[in-house]
Each structure stands twice: as C-alpha cells, then as structure tokens.
Amino acid sequence: MAIHKVCGIETEYGIVVRGGDNNPVTASSLLINAYVNATSKKVGWDFEDETPANDARGFNLDAVFAPEIETTLVNAVLPNGARYYVDHAHPEISIPEVTTALEAVTWDRAADEIVRRSMRHADALFDDGTEVVVYKNNSDGKGNSYGCHENYLMAREVPFGRIASQITPHFVTRQVFTGAGKVGCEQPGREPGDVAYQLSQRADFFEEEIGLETTLKRPIVNTRDEPHCDPQKYRRLHVIAGDANMSELATYLKVGTTAIVLAMIEDDEMGDDLLLGNPVPAIRQVSHDPTLTRTVMLRDGRRATALEVQFGLLERAQKYAQTHGLDAVGAEVGADVMGRWEAVLAALESDPDSVADQVDWVAKRRLVEGFRERHDLPADSPKLKAIDLQYHDLRADRGLAGRVGLATMVEPAAVESAITEPPTTTRAYFRGRCLQKFPDDIVAANWDSMVFDVGRDPLRRVPMMEPLRGTAHHVAKLIDESTTAAELLDRLGA
C-alpha cells in the first residue's frame, strides 16, 4: 500500500519596493527580518542536509552547481514549523510538512498572512512612505519566472522512471483547474501578443520533460533528490510545474489530486495508457487554450483534450479508491477531493464561468474580459496586464483576488492559529513546539533535525528522519511536561 503522502508547498513571492531602493534581495531580507524581529526569537536554518544537486536518477551534479551564497542571507524557522527565507531574489515560505490537502491549504493561507504582516512590519521601518509590496504569482510578464513548488513523500523503492512518466499527464493537464491565469505569452521565441490569455503563469517556462534544473531549461518533472528524511526508505518528489494559487479550492485540488495520482503510481495502479506523446509542447498548448477544446496526442497515437485526460485520471482514481481506499491521502479529505475533482471537471466541460469562484484562471479572465469590454480596450492594453499582476497583490486594499468572491475552505480562526501553531500530524509539531517553548536553547533547525545548546556538553542534534514521528500524538505530553530543553532531551534519550 502507498505510504502516506506527507506533503508541502514552497512559494517564492514576487517583490517590489515602491518609493525606495528596489533591490529585491535587500527588500526580501528586510521583509523577513521585519517579521521575525517583531514576532519571535530568530532561529537560523541548518544547512547540514541540503543536497539540491542530488539527482533522483542516481548521480550528483555538485560540480556544476555554483554555491548559492545568497540563500544564507536570511533564513528563519517559524514557530509554526515553516521556513521563511530569501531564495535567489525572492522571499520564500516553505510550509511545514502536512498530511492532507486541507492542511496544505490551511498553512498556505497562513503563509500568505505571514507575508501580509511582514509587509506591514517592513513598511513601519520607513518614515517616508516607502512600501514593500509582495505578489503571489509566478512571472513578471517579461520572461522571468519564480516557482510555487510542491513536495510529496514517496517510497524509495518505487522506480523513479515510473513516477516521472506516469505523473507527467497530470502535470500537463491539471492546469485546467490549477492554472492561475496569465495575460500574454512568455514562451521563448514567441511574442507576448501571440496568446491573449492563457491558463497558467508557469507553462511557458517548461523546456524539458525531466531534469534537475529549476531556474533555466525547467523540466516538467524535476529530479532533485533531497528526501529531508531517511533516504533509504523515502524520496520526496519535488514538483516545480505548478502555479501559486490565490483560490483555496485550487490549492486544495492541486495538492489533493496530485497526492492521489502519486499514491496510485506508487501502488502501480496507474498504467501507461494516458502517457503523452510530446509533453513539453502539450503543457504549453493546454495552457494556451482557454476554450479547453484542443487535443494533445497520447503516446499510443490517440488524441484527447486536457479535460478528457483529466476524466481518465479521475476514473482511474475512482477505481483505486474502491480497491485500495484513500488512507494514503487521508480518507475523509481524499473522498472530498474526489467529489470536488469530478465537480470541477464537469463544470469546466459545461460552463467554465460557473467555477469563477474556485478556479483562478476563470476568475481572472472574468475581470480581464469584463474590464476590456467595459472600456473597449485593445487586447494589448497595459491595463489588462495590470489587472493580471494586481490579482496577485497581497495587500488587502489593492489585491484583486480578494474581491472576486473566491470560495473559502478554511475558517479565519484556523488560518490565524496556523500562523503560529504547527500541524499536529507530522514532525513539524515537534519543531514548532520546541521553537515556541525553548527558543533560547535551539541553535538551528531544518527539516530533519534540530540542534540544541543546553549549556552543557557539545551541541546536541536531534534527528527527525521520520516525517510522521514527532507528532502531537507522540510528543505533546513529553513537551508539555518538560520544563527545560535539557529535561526534554533527557526524556527523549537524545
């Protein structure tokens, strides 16, 4: 049976300084420091287990990867178990490890709220009205892209080649409900006006089917092999072919359906009959077709629309749910995902506008088209691109996504709690609770360990190689009852 699909989301945000020095690295550092200084003791990230040059296909490319010096600028671990840092020239939040799509949405929403608060703390540092503005999107419209990655825990024994080939049809076609929408085209070699409106922020930037790169020649399936846990037992599939979503439903479906498809692949219940002939042209073609009617070629020569491929995946998932159950993605959430997946596909097939409250590209298109008609604007009017960008503006008084009536799944109180509290269901619980209770005794933390300095002996590293250990069930009582970090470590036997 498939192992539990522990998962996470890593969002790189766009950043602009209005009225001041527009250096994105400085601005990102300032943003994060402003938040961390205002809210908690800063605990640094521990780079011991970072191996971004390890390739899932079994080799290591360290020699060709220049050291990423700028990633060490600001790097904090938050009490909710998330990592908040500067990656390249963007602020990034990696949410804590979670066990269901609903938890992923909850901590993703918390991440957005953390960024909103960061903006307010940053702006308070200026007395001249300078403003740091953050956008939750994936492209600047000028050929520069930054990612919203997902990650999913997989059993190491599953052949990587099978994962890569069988997940690709989902990555190419899930855009029909995960796409965040984009005015214009950024595909290399094409003009911005070649495509008036497309489903995805990100599709234009994929140039390979499979590979290790994430910043150029981006592959649909990324082979970065950083399990951040026991490498003998697990791999962590690092997904770079997705958009950052403003819609909670879209994030929920993105993570929920992908986790189900990966569970099917792990149990070898997926089969090869939906494999695509040419995934790279297909991912762009699907994105460039808001009518959802064009077909892509399957490897066996048949042709199918993106929706037909999705219905094929759904049908397989329904059979899989019957024969294997959905415990691997959380049974209740899994069943709910299945229902909503079917509903969104049916709606997209019959009347896409009816899901303007859950699919970002549909919601954004309504605004762009409505505005264009009202003011009789040409398709290349900068006002339409401005709407596109401003849809993702995280300022409450400016952001457009907050005005279009997107359905919500997570109560405000749950989001508020997730800003400071870790999930109870993974090792993030141990990380977050320790950071809350013993901040002065923690020197550094990362995904799979924490380093304590309790004032005696050398520093002590607590390994956390099992993502599903260190949960509230395992350690809540222990942490509650320990009055000092030293006592906790003694009781853990660390």
Partner: protein
C-alpha cells in the same frame, strides 16, 4: 470515505439537483458572480494602479526557481 460521498448525495437529493452538481453551493454562487460582475468592475476602476503602463513596465523580477 463512502460516508462522505453519501452525504453529498443526500444534499443533492434534498435540493433536487443532479449528482453532477455535487457542490451545489458552488454553482449557485457561480450564478451570483455573473450578476455581481458590474459591481466588481466598478471597484476595479477604483483600485487599479493609476498609471497601469508604468506599473506593468516597472514590475520586473529576477528569475527564481
């Protein structure tokens, strides 16, 4: 799992909708959204960046991952 699906069917039965509309609240609010578009566009006229051309031009990011 089956329980959740049954629950959805029960809701559909009660509101006399087909299984295709397993998320009835969503379809209804979809209808409402159409009617609300004019109000929404009024609001966008107010909050859209005043100099759209400069805003779009100056929104330049470094490539990330």
């Amino acid at each position: 799992m089956a329980e959740r699906i049954n629950k959805q069917k029960t809701t559909s039965d009660r509101t006399d909708e087909t299984v295709d509309e397993a998320a009835p609240a969503v379809s209804e609010s979809g209808e409402k959204l159409k009617a609300d578009l004019d109000d929404l566009l009024d609001e966008i006229d107010e909050v859209l960046e005043t100099n759209a051309e400069d805003f779009v031009k100056s929104y330049v990011q470094k490539g990330g991952q």
